[in-house]
Assembly symmetry: C2
Homo-oligomer: 252 residues x 2
């Protein structure tokens, strides 16, 4: 029997521009008695990554375009916030009910192009997604290796609403050291039937699992360690594998 | 620090028609040294629920309609399998690339209306979704209470492809004893910002977390125990809360 543990990383300081996330995670994990181990998967919420990278925008310093003002009027949103959302977007999927669903420059389709207002210090500050979440994940992974000597995987997660189903779940927007999809086509089931369609989005499942401790009432937990899950290592992993091109989408 | 554990339930027999799943789960959990505890969440894959309920269909006994034959020709699928899929469906969302995306009678939109060919004994046998997955979950929960005296939540899970993103994840298609969505609107974040949009689909996140042990290489693990997650109890929970009506869907 092989139990998986989801360990919240508590005691991290409020993350600010220039902070060394890899070091802070190693220190907090050690301090709480669960030092980083080989094979751990470290799930980090995007907002602290953006904050550590100085990717925080003060809305008072943003001059909204006319188009942003139009959409702000339609949605009831702050025009400066709409401007930031538009700057992060390469297309708008839908506007309605006060919401903007946009495709980010990375290719993620999500509400407000992933621009987060919550858990950002400063009343007028917002945090867009990291500019290159895979690179952010690789940097954190590298720092953890330098500091602890441990080989881990790192996933940057974000909370996404989704088509067809109510409620948000956490998904992976950046990965390092782990293949985000486990391809099981060709394997046989318990009764010898060969699996024809089976590609598990484990990076998304791991992000959702981490959210069970990250999203708990005790706020200020932006990092979780998932321990005991056997995953396929990869040095050139990318979260782009998780994005389905529109022309291949049968659902929409 | 509050760690969550995902415990695979090993040693279950091949489930067949009439089997008492609640009893078998209690026995297997006790035998492996992790007896059911109060507050556990038991995640059960739908295929063993369907098998225990006798909800298995031998394709040799199915006479395909003319429409089923047409779709079989277009998709390259077995006409009898297509007939079963159509019987489970209330609408077809899309047919293409050899796939059928359908809306089940329950309202779930998924490939093949959830009819599973894998992990069903008998070369010509398939397992549709349970007829009423919430009722199935409630029955298992009730039996676990009768046998172990423990108050648990039960989630029936299924593997779903999804719009916009590659790879499948596990989601909840039946729930008992647990509110499937955690509504956090109105709560404040770390910096006092009030959350306006935050309804977490925890039943889906728990299903995905469970899949990390259920979907591992060691086949024959159809059940997981999630221990240590604080959830909102509910006696009248329904998985219907997780289905977003099309007219309210901004993504598609």
């Amino acid at each position: 029997m092989h139990t998986i543990k989801i360990i919240p990383v508590i005691g991290l300081p409020i993350i600010k521009n220039g902070d060394d996330l890899g070091r802070l995670i190693c220190e907090a994990a050690a301090k709480q008695g669960t030092p980083i181990e080989n094979g751990d998967i470290i799930v980090v919420t995007h907002v602290i990554v953006s904050r550590s990278e100085g990717n925080v925008i003060n809305l008072d310093e943003v001059i909204p375009s006319e188009f942003a003002k139009n959409i702000a009027e339609e949605t009831g949103k702050d025009p400066a916030l709409v401007e930031v959302i538009l700057r992060e977007s390469k297309s708008i999927v839908r506007i309605g009910g006060g919401h903007i669903i946009a495709e980010t420059k990375h290719g993620f389709i999500c509400a407000n192009a992933g621009v987060d207002r919550s858990n950002v210090p400063g009343e007028r500050n917002v945090a867009p997604l990291p500019k290159d979440p895979d690179l952010s994940a690789r940097r954190i992974r590298q720092r953890i290796k330098e500091i602890s000597g441990r080989e881990v995987a790192v996933i940057i997660s974000d909370t996404h609403g989704r088509p067809l189903r109510n409620g948000e779940i956490n998904v992976a927007i950046g990965v390092a050291g782990i293949k985000p999809i486990r391809d099981r086509r060709g394997e046989k089931d318990l009764f010898g039937y060969m699996l024809k369609v089976k590609q598990t989005a484990i990076a998304d499942e791991l992000s959702s699992a981490a959210e069970l401790v990250i999203g708990q009432a005790d706020e200020g937990i932006p990092v979780a360690i998932i321990r005991g899950y056997q995953y396929e290592r990869s040095e050139d992993a990318t979260s782009k594998d998780l994005i389905r091109p529109k022309e291949k989408d049968l659902f929409i």
